[in-house]
Symmetry: C2
Subunit: 302 residues, 2 copies
């Protein structure tokens, strides 16, 4: 469905979309959506359509993110922005978001269109907030979580909510599925931010160290800053100056202070919260699989 | 409705949207939509909503266009890209397109969402095509019209179609309204391209000469190239080299060869075609106004 929606009569656009295909990695969001629907005993064409929609929205954010972050590699491939230029990447992202809404509007009801539109509104707010706070060495934990919730949380949340919707769930179950996705998404992003600092480029497969390079504080560095001592002032100065930092050295310092472990245990508590919400779904292999996916968030190295 | 949809809980985003407000100029697309609905005797909340949607889509394309074209001025104001940077402009464009779809999904039926989604798919194709042909000195008239139809034509077309839809028109009348908008939109773009060369910056109010600067052929220069003589080879060389050209000198040469007049008479023939389609709408002041708007396309100097 993803490929069919994007296929058009212009060969060079089909080639650009080929590139996006190689971005598809874990397919976390469609997997969450389909498993939620399956847990409820109904995973049909509507669920499949919505799974393609949320993945397409996610791809659009990745393509625009690579322009904003000046990243050169994603999923072990050069980014669209790096190969085709920023203009093509901006337009390709627009093309993807347009097709996502178009595909969503093929369903009988407006419900999913409304939820997806409301969600992408918030995702854009998150990205704008993040941009506003670029280089802000006073970013608080609360502000970080606000950005993470908007930028990453709500899209995984709506994926699970729409899975429940496709499975004809009650409003209560849809709300629980939303909360499961929200907490999972936040945990996922914290781990992503940790991997940006301590991950292994060859297994993560994308440009790492971008946050530090762009002066973007994330949970581990925010926790480090909180000490307010000589070391944290030094880090703030070097991040704010835009001077390239030695990623390994930063990772070692953060590890030594326990900031990596602390960030990971915050992520773990979100995973625990997410798993509690799964109690609202009927027991069975699909729900077990969702449990396992939440566990996987903490184990992943890519 | 436009302002209410964009208002959010983040003050800095509201300020960014303030800037977009100053972009609003002729409001051609919502005017066409509302007048079409009015001509059919029914211009209610649904029409108002759709008018805000098409204007919001148009604003999104302007904001992203200014990133792509490196334009510094629009509607006598500095562009978002120039003041806030390209990243903020990319994200603000995304924010606008997301809100356009969100607003559209507030209607009862999916019909408009489908039509808007199908239209923005084509608009993105047009922008991608235009980018692909940047610096292409062999761009044919047919390729130019293909780009113009996709990039500009289909959005004015769907504005008129949705006006007819809001006015409860038959499929035949909706199709005629679409064709009226398509021909008007194409004429409008041809005149826009002519103004980029011969317009007066102070009255047009946006950065002019960008097409020539970015090596983008438009109808007047394509007609000039067609001669295939020494002068056209010289123009092609100087456009392709990216060397800044003297806009006045180019304008004089194109005028002398009749290429400006020829381009304008092509635009005039599209206006004539558009006006014929208006015969499908009931006679009355709203239809007269649409006739006048089509005439205005040829008269406008901004």
């Amino acid at each position: 469905m993803f490929d069919a929606e994007l296929a058009g009569d212009l060969p060079f656009i089909n080639e650009l979309c080929e590139r996006v295909r190689s971005y598809r990695g874990k397919m976390l969001r469609p997997a969450l959506l389909l498993l939620t629907a399956k847990a409820l005993g109904r995973c049909d064409r509507r669920a499949h359509t919505l799974a393609a929609v949320v993945e397409m929205v996610h791809m659009a954010t990745l393509v625009h993110d690579d322009v904003l972050d000046e990243a050169s590699q994603r999923r072990k491939q050069p980014t669209v922005a790096a190969v085709e230029g920023n203009i093509a990447a901006v337009l390709l992202g627009d093309y993807l978001i347009s097709h996502a809404f178009h595909l969503c509007s093929s369903l009988d009801s407006q419900f999913a269109s409304r939820r997806v539109g409301a969600t992408t509104n918030i995702v854009c707010e998150g990205e704008l907030l993040q941009n506003l706070h670029g280089g802000d060495m006073a970013l608080s934990e609360a502000q970080y979580f606000d950005i993470v919730r908007r930028k990453t949380g709500v899209l995984t949340a709506v994926a699970c909510e729409l899975g429940a919707y496709a499975g004809d769930a009650s409003d209560e179950v849809m709300a629980a599925a939303y909360e499961f996705g929200l907490a999972s998404g936040i945990a996922f992003q914290i781990v992503d931010d940790v991997l940006d600092i301590v991950g292994d480029t060859s297994s993560v497969g994308k440009t790492l160290g971008q946050d530090v390079l762009l002066g973007k504080l994330t949970l581990p560095t925010i926790l480090f800053m909180r000490a307010g001592n000589e070391d944290s002032r030094r880090l703030a100065e070097s991040l704010a100056s835009g001077r390239a930092m030695n990623r390994q050295q930063l990772a070692d310092e953060l590890q030594a202070r326990g900031c990596i472990d602390d960030a990971l245990s915050v992520a773990r508590s979100y995973v625990g919260r997410a798993q509690e919400y799964l109690g609202s779904l009927p027991a069975g292999p699909a729900r077990e699989c969702l449990m396992g996916m939440a566990d996987f968030i903490m184990r992943r190295r890519f």
